[in-house]
């Protein structure tokens, strides 16, 4: 079942033209000339219930603007958007009941209130019944390890603690769809891992549909099976992470550390090429479609003494760099 549908979504921002020089401020104030920027330029995608989708793009690509149209905060300039059968900007309040939103850069918690009071307020705002509220709070407190700071005012929390609080707040009323806009920005490794584990568990156990924007590709590798890649407001890729890697990084590498360093430049393996050789190490590149990893390794071991060996998977980061460098639309063949 499709829960989020965007079709040919466009958002333009119009600002009065700025003037510089003498009387520039006054001219800016009085001008009837406007400059228009197109932040989102015809984005379309369908997201099925229970999917965990990474929505990626460089700064200013239009990610947050899209999320804000899906949540009903911004009204699209043109195009259609529908979330669980509701047009978000037309029925903003109804839409708000079945979505949870976490903005990494701003908190929905009340600055001066203890975390617990913020939660209680959210319970009231979303009209959460007691028999749902208490088990949820208990479960999230345990999963996100929040017991120690539930009574601390939000302004005194560390960033990691606050983000955990924000995540729990967004899920207290069991929304069907969770939007995470850079949820791990500025967090340390442990805090990131905790957030990811929580999101993965919600997605698995409750079937919560998750849409995640992030610059941290570890988030994506850890959580998402599908990504939508945008740049300059347009979709560049929409499909599986594995398919993207297969297309852009079809090679695997095996790094071999030889017992006799001078043999490094002499390693020859059928169907594999020497990508690099230095310090007694050699990187062998091969296409997994034509030759198995095991055969490559066996071929090396048959002729050389090896002290260490590693299989190198292509990283999503490299793949995405490559795509942005080309900046062209790719048809995803799934």
């Amino acid at each position: 079942m499709t829960v989020v549908r965007a079709h040919d979504l466009v958002k333009e921002f119009r600002r009065p033209k700025r003037f510089t020089g003498a009387f520039g401020g006054l001219r800016t104030l009085l001008t009837r000339q406007y400059t228009t920027t197109r932040a989102v330029d015809g984005v379309s995608f369908d997201i099925e219930a229970g999917e965990l989708v990474g929505y990626l793009g460089p700064n200013g690509a239009g990610k947050s603007t899209t999320i804000k149209m899906l949540t009903g905060i911004l009204v699209p300039t043109s195009g259609q958007v529908e979330v669980a059968g509701v047009v978000p900007w037309k029925e903003r309040e109804r839409n708000a009941r079945h979505i949870g939103v976490v903005f990494g850069q701003r908190s929905q918690l009340w600055w001066d209130l203890p975390l617990r009071d913020s939660f209680r307020l959210i319970g009231k705002l979303y009209d959460v019944p007691r028999e749902q509220y208490h088990p949820n709070l208990e479960r999230f407190t345990e999963l996100l390890d929040m017991a120690d700071f539930l009574d601390t005012p939000v302004r005194q929390l560390s960033l990691g603690q606050r983000m955990r609080g924000d995540l729990a707040a967004a899920m207290l009323y069991n929304p069907r769809i969770l939007y995470l806009d850079e949820p791990t920005i500025g967090l340390d490794v442990v805090a990131k891992e905790r957030m990811r584990a929580f999101v993965a568990e919600l997605n698995r156990d409750e079937g919560t549909t998750v849409i995640l924007t992030t610059h941290d590709l570890d988030d994506v590798e850890r959580l998402c099976s599908r990504i939508v890649l945008i740049d300059h407001g347009r979709v560049l890729y929409d499909g599986e992470v594995a398919a993207l890697k297969a297309r852009y990084a079809p090679y695997r590498e095996v790094m071999v550390h030889l017992a006799h360093p001078d043999e490094a430049t002499a390693v020859e393996v059928p169907h594999a090429e020497r990508a690099r050789a230095e310090d007694g190490k050699v990187w062998l590149r091969f296409d997994p479609e034509t030759v198995q990893v095991a055969d490559v390794i066996a071929a090396v071991l048959a002729r050389h003494q090896v002290s260490d060996l590693a299989i190198i998977e292509p990283e999503l980061e490299g793949v995405i760099h490559q795509i942005y460098a080309q900046r062209s639309v790719i048809s995803a063949r799934e």
Binding site: F13, S64, K68, T71, G72, I73, L74, V75, W89, R92, E93, R94, A96, R97, H98, I99, V101, F103, Q105, R106, S107, Q108, W110, W111, D112, L113, L121, K124, L125, Y126, D127
Partner: protein, 271 residues
């Protein structure tokens, strides 16, 4: 998902009002300073009116004690219903918090109104302290009858709603301009004057009085005070209350219209 019950909606707004009351109280020092300013203003107004009256028993048929009572109450009332930070909208927009407000399942205007009510509720105890002082400093008189006292409470309630609607309407201009400091300053001066919060409307020249009477500001300050002082009674009183109610309906409709336009102009500051 079903629509929330009215009780749930009220509870949600009640919760928002309480939070705002809490944050208002966090800035207690501001209010203490505010009360001092209020007392100084009341004292100065008394000096001015005493000088104006000098040896005359009445000016334009109004005696000194009525005028002083008017000036004192008007100042307190305006101070209470127009806190210095009289609309939360500009701050929410400038800090990009509007994104959070708009992801809540309750109406934005409802949140704004609930927030204002909460702020006033937090100020109310200060008024309890301020009123006896201002009466001592400024001098005041009780309403001429119990009926006038009751009518004053009703009229004051309507006036408060008008004040909130006006502040919200002005606050919404933030969606067009983003920077509103100077504009608000002008609005404050003009509204305070035309509301009769500085000089009673009965002393204004006819043309200015006419201008004031066709604008909503006087219904937010002058009307309840004229009721309190017994200058509006009988059919005039009924007409004044109807005018107040009319302004509420009209301002609410305008606010809804402006908000529906503003929604198309939402820009979230800071990404």
């Amino acid at each position: 998902m079903s629509r929330p019950t009215p009780k749930a909606v009220l509870e949600a707004y009640g919760a928002i009002a309480r939070v705002n009351a809490g944050s208002a109280l966090a800035y207690r020092a501001d209010y203490v300073v505010g009360i001092l300013g209020l007392l100084v203003q009341v004292f100065l107004l008394r000096m001015v009116w005493e000088a104006v009256y000098a040896d005359r028993g009445s000016v334009d048929g109004v005696d000194l004690s009525t005028t002083i009572a008017y000036a004192t109450l008007a100042t307190v009332q305006y101070w209470l219903s127009n806190p210095w930070n009289f609309s939360v909208i500009p701050q929410r927009v400038r800090e990009g918090k509007i994104a959070i407000d708009l992801s809540r399942p309750v109406s934005f205007l409802g949140q704004v109104v609930a927030g204002q009510v909460g702020t006033t509720a937090a100020l109310a105890p200060f008024a309890l302290v301020a009123v006896p002082f201002t009466v001592l400093v400024g001098g005041a008189q009780p309403p001429p009858s119990v009926g006038a006292g009751l009518a004053y409470v009703v009229s004051l309630g309507l006036a408060y709603v008008i004040t909130i609607l006006l502040s919200s309407l002005v606050g919404l201009s933030t969606f067009w301009t983003l920077e509103v400091g100077g504009f608000f300053m002008i609005y404050r001066m003009v509204s305070q004057f035309l509301a009769g919060a500085l000089v009673p409307l009965w002393f204004m020249p006819d043309w200015l009085r006419t201008v004031a009477e066709v604008l909503p500001f006087q219904a937010a300050t002058y009307t309840p005070l004229a009721v309190y002082l017994g200058r509006l009674a009988g059919p005039d009183l009924a007409a004044a209350l109807i005018v107040q109610a009319g302004w509420i309906v009209l301002l609410w409709l305008v606010l809804r219209l402006v908000w529906s336009r503003a929604l198309h102009r939402v820009v979230v500051q800071g990404g």
